[in-house]
Amino acid sequence: MFFNRLTKKRDEELMHLVSQGNERAMTELYHRHSRNLLRYFYRMLWKEEALAQDFLQDLFIKIIESAERFDTNKKFSTWIYSIAHNMCKNEYRKRAFRQALRDVTWVEGTEDMTHRRFEEKEFQRALDEALETLEEEDKHLFLLRHETEMPLEEIAQILDCPVGTVKSRLFYIRKKLALKLHSYHPVKE
């Protein structure tokens, strides 16, 4: 009965309960967001599942420990993805050198891809690789939109920019990726 009531509450109300030490509210929040957040981390962190799981746990620990500081007038998902993004940024800084090496490796790999046709599964693998070559901010934006399926308005709040800018940036990222995956969908002029 208590769980039913919690499921009807908004994220922000649940966060208020979490700040009061309500374990069930935290569990409900976890069930709502953990899967999407894990996918987000998985994509952002070079598809290293163990690392993504660690980040997911660390993120929720941060949420629990700083629950009192959460402004319930703000949107929870905006807040949580901002934290997630900052965590990824820090990880990128740590691995800047390694990431540079990855980019080089990918460029070499794409040379071969232009001469081959891939099926749907292979297209997705190529898409993953193409995502790895994106700038951190672009990757973050693209994943928020297409991996977590977040509304444009929320993304705009997270990135602190107008919705129109988000749309434009998404379009250019699409074009960039489409260009890299050109061999999979040849454009008829």
């Binding site: 953990s34 899967r35 898409l127």
Partner: protein, 186 residues
């Protein structure tokens, strides 16, 4: 709305076939061909269609629940109050000084309590003054001279002569007298 914004909106909502004729014309004008539009759509859809995404490890939730239990406020919130270090130090000094003052005022000599039971009391101290009643015969010498003239010599002083029957005290009487005096002095 900028063209790029509009195209992005259309890309995320509609396939090329679902577009209105005006929208299709707009897309072709901006992108060149329907296949370009579908290619761009495929990029976003390809990501959403992924099925090999990992699922959260069940241990994470258990760890978080454990953390929440540790953070749960106690029934007595006063015990969870955060006190600054200087306040703690002042409280320690305050209570220490109170304890020190209290210890100083109360006597610290602790004598062992010895319970001695005495069933017999021996008094070694004798009375200072003993009044002894004694009958002195004023005219005893004259009487003795009268009745026993040959017994009286010059060596016996009339004062030293005391009647044995009435004035002298024997040992028994002496003890009784001392006992009497002792009990009287008690």
């Amino acid at each position: 709305m900028k063209p790029t914004e509009k195209i992005e909106e259309l890309l995320s909502t509609k396939s090329f076939d679902s577009l209105t004729p005006e929208e299709q014309a707009f897309v072709i004008h901006e992108l060149g061909s329907p296949s370009e539009y579908e290619a761009l759509r495929k990029v976003g859809a390809g990501l959403s269609a992924k099925v090999d995404s990992p699922t959260p490890n069940p241990r994470i939730l258990k760890n978080l629940q454990h953390l929440m239990q540790e953070k749960k406020p106690s029934a007595f919130p006063v015990f969870q109050l955060k006190v600054p270090a200087y306040v703690s130090a002042m409280l320690i000094i305050f209570f220490s000084s109170i304890a020190w003052i209290a210890a100083k005022t109360t006597s610290t000599e602790t004598e062992p309590l010895a319970v001695v039971k005495t069933d017999t009391i021996f008094l070694t101290q004798k009375a200072d003054t003993i009044y002894r009643e004694k009958v002195v015969y004023r005219y005893r010498y004259a009487a003795m001279k009268k009745y026993f003239p040959e017994e009286i010599t010059t060596r016996t002083s009339p004062v030293a002569e005391q009647p044995v029957e009435s004035g002298s005290i024997n040992m028994k009487e002496q003890e009784e007298l001392e006992a009497l005096l002792v009990s009287g002095s008690k």
